[in-house]
Amino acid sequence: MLVDLLLAILIVGLAAYAVLGGADYGAGFWDLTAGGAQRGARLRGLVHRSMGPVWEANNVWLILVLVVMWTCFPRAFGPLMETLYVPLFLAAVGIIFRGFAYALRGEAASISEARVIGAVFALSSVLTPFFLGCALGAVASGQVPAEGDPGIPFSSWTGATALWAGALAVATGAYVAAVFLAADSVRVEAPDLTIAFRRRALGSAVVAGVMAIGGLLVIREDARNLYDGLTSGGGLAMVIVSGVVGVLTLWLVWSSRFEVARYTSGVAVGAMLAGLAFAQRPDFLPGELSLQDAAADDPTLVATLIVLVLALLLIVPSVAVLFRLTLQGRLSERFRPIVTPDDEADR
């Protein structure tokens, strides 16, 4: 029971990172594909503005996931890190590159510098969620042995399911980001950007949806146990919830209700992750290590739970203040297009 509760918290943390962090990375994806002309500058300006005050805070979710994992499920964390060290190290490096490429956006002194910085920002925005998704897919498809195996640094995360999960992580991030940015463009009263991001949200929703459903076929071939889990019981229920809420979000975006769509898109992603957890129950590392065996003793679980409840009590009101101030526009940076030397040359 206690173990299930902490697993649920782990899933919530993962979902929050997938949605908020994913939106962050997805914004980088739209930056990558924005084009170089005047329109691209406005898109990039919005990406920059929207991420300004809160972008560091999103890493909190990733750290929450890591901490809950090593404290509450240490016997899964050890082998997982030892086996999947290649994608996880690459993701960590991607996080750094993204951090400083973001800080240097619009700072380039020459066209070639601007291109390099832009490329680093965009590439790290795509590769980081990809590698994290691959790692998650590798765990779900039972590629991590209970005793850990550093001898399979590549084959462990390059199976069909893992690669699919990586690609899906990029697609969902892009989709969530488009929804968030569409909502933001309404706030800064930039109708041209609203149209642009609405179109991107709808497009990426379809891509992510098709990938999610198509993925079931991949999983059926590659990881039969996972497939069975996803098509029965709690796993199936979550897949259905994710699908229904996903379609609902699509409709909300279609009818330009972006603010609500922000939340429903989060629910759709969260349900997808919960589905994975249900599918591999009662195991933490499928076929290798049960949740119970991976878990720490009760006192540790209780202590962690108490800290997390305290955190909730302190953080929820704080986040509420931050969001209220942000929504009132009292913290936001002024919107301005990101002008690169490219554009200066155009003028």
Binding site: G52, P53, V54, E56, A57, N59, V60, L62, I63, L64, L66, V67, W70, T71, C72, P74, R75, F77, G78, P79, L80, M81, E82, Y85, V86, L88, F89, A92, I95, I96, G99, F100, A103, L104, E107, E147, G148, P150, G151, P153, A296, D297, P299, T300, A303, T304, V307, L308, A311, L314, I315, S318, V321, L322, L325, R330, L331, S332, E333, R334
Partner: protein, 464 residues
């Protein structure tokens, strides 16, 4: 403790034979590099918000726009350093698992929840730093000041929980080891409040104030020497120097307490710190000098001083390195020389602080001689050297153990290949990261301070 010692053999048997990791030393260096990159930022997290808030409080009291310009400028510095700290801290979270999976696997449940507390503080810090820095001129002065207080508290609380884990590694408790070698009956609070925690917390807390104030003062002392002596630069120099003149002398008292705790809890580490080969009654202390291969070159030996300092009794017996097998001894040269460096620099910083205090007291002004400012310029980097040396003493002095007397580093390290590749990658990445941070700070410094006050709410470019 002795029952634990008897129990540790089966623990290791259960964890499997140590993997062969030919790059153990590189793995340790990689971890040390990441911590060394992160710790200076922690110092700013501990102390800088308090300094910024103090200057803002001065502004609210006096209405002098110079103070506002300074507080606002410093808050941007704080944000840049926080952002860098978030990135390096995230890397550290990954690295603990990537480099030491067996350490996390076996002991994560004992100390891990301290990191949950750290995460809580980090979250609060991220939220309020955004409100504070982006809220200049948009919140009422009172609300704005209040929004900064959680940043100061979170910086202290977050680092405190991580230091608790370090204390635990040096002084593990809060669990039993069962007959089959499993860690059982975990008592997380007991692990958190281990005997090493208190002096480590206070020592690091003061170090945070000393390092951040020295570095900040160093920057403005350089400006002072170049002739920038307006009210803005004066305030920017006096505030950190005031912090330094309080924290650096206090650190000497705390250092004594820390050393006495180490003498009791980790006699081998103390022996390494003083390069004491054999257990001695009424042991001497050698001040200064450099230790190479069992010899101290230079330095002044003061009879019975080590016994006096460690146990407050000139004839007390101090355990030497000979008490433990050679395999269980830390590399003495690193520990001993680092300790000398830390104590030496710390003492000089305290004297510098007293010089400043003397000037304030006698003449109510900053010292006139340029030599004072030249020394302050050097004090910044020197304080960093002292900080890293201090951590060398704690961490290299803990070797060969990752969990003191329970798990050796070679039993904890990953079996993964490619550690040199990861190490090289991180070196490049950290150079780039610090390069970017310095570039942003320098660009911030090029904007005249008046711009901070003149800017209207709509014109703020918070992160340049």
């Amino acid at each position: 403790m002795s029952s634990l010692l008897l129990g540790w053999v089966p623990v290791l048997a259960q964890a499997g034979d140590p993997v062969s990791q030919q790059y153990l030393l590189e793995a340790r260096q990689m971890q040390a590099l990441s911590l060394g990159v992160h710790i200076p930022l922690v110092c700013f997290g501990i102390s800088f918000p308090a300094m910024v808030l103090f200057v803002e409080w001065l502004y609210n009291r006096t209405g002098n726009p110079t103070y506002k310009a300074l507080a606002k400028r410093w808050s941007k510095v704080m944000l840049i350093l926080f952002a860098v700290g978030v990135v390096t801290g995230t890397i550290l979270s990954f690295e603990l698992g990537l480099l030491w999976p067996r350490f996390m696997e076996q002991w994560g449940e004992v100390f891990g929840f301290a990191f949950a507390i750290e995460g809580l503080f980090f979250f609060l810090e991220a939220i309020f730093i955004a409100i504070y820095v982006y809220g200049w001129d948009r919140l009422t002065p009172r609300m704005h000041f209040l929004s900064g207080i959680p940043i100061a508290l979170a910086g202290v609380g977050g680092s405190a929980s991580v230091i608790a884990v370090n204390g635990w590694m040096n002084n593990p408790q809060g669990f039993d080891v069962a007959a089959n070698g499993e860690v059982t009956d975990v008592r997380p609070l007991e692990a958190l409040f281990n005997p090493h925690v208190w002096h480590e917390e206070v020592h690091m807390y003061l170090a945070g104030f000393i390092v951040a104030s020295s570095l900040v003062a160093s920057v403005y002392a350089a400006a002072w020497l170049r002739g920038r002596r307006d009210g803005y630069h004066r305030a920017a120099l006096v505030v950190p120097l005031a912090v330094l003149c309080l924290a650096a002398p206090a650190q000497i008292v705390i250092g004594d307490w820390a050393a006495r705790t180490v003498a009791e809890e980790q006699p081998t580490k103390l022996a390494a710190m003083e390069a004491l080969q054999d257990t001695t009654e009424g042991a001497d202390l050698t001040v200064g000098g450099w230790y190479v291969d069992g010899e101290i070159y230079g330095g002044v030996a003061i009879p019975n001083l080590l016994s006096l300092l460690a146990f407050h009794d000139p004839n007390a017996t101090v355990e030497g390195l000979n008490e433990v097998p050679e395999d269980d001894r830390p590399p003495v040269a690193w520990v001993r020389n680092s300790f000398q460096l830390m104590v030496g620099i710390g003492t000089l910083l305290a004297l510098l602080g007293l010089w400043f205090l003397w000037g304030r007291w006698r003449r109510g002004a900053l010292p006139r001689t340029p030599w004072f400012y030249r020394l302050v310029v050097v004090a910044g980097p020197a304080s960093l050297v002292a900080l890293i040396s201090g951590w060398f003493v704690t961490e290299i002095g803990r070797q060969p153990w990752i969990v003191y007397e329970l798990m050796r580093v070679e039993e904890a390290v990953t079996g993964a290949e490619g550690i040199p590749v990861g190490y090289a990658t991180l070196v490049v990445v950290y150079l780039g990261l610090y390069g970017v941070a310095l570039y942003m700070l320098r660009r911030l410094a090029r904007t005249p301070p008046e711009a901070e006050v003149k800017a209207g709410p709509g014109d703020i470019e918070v992160l340049p």
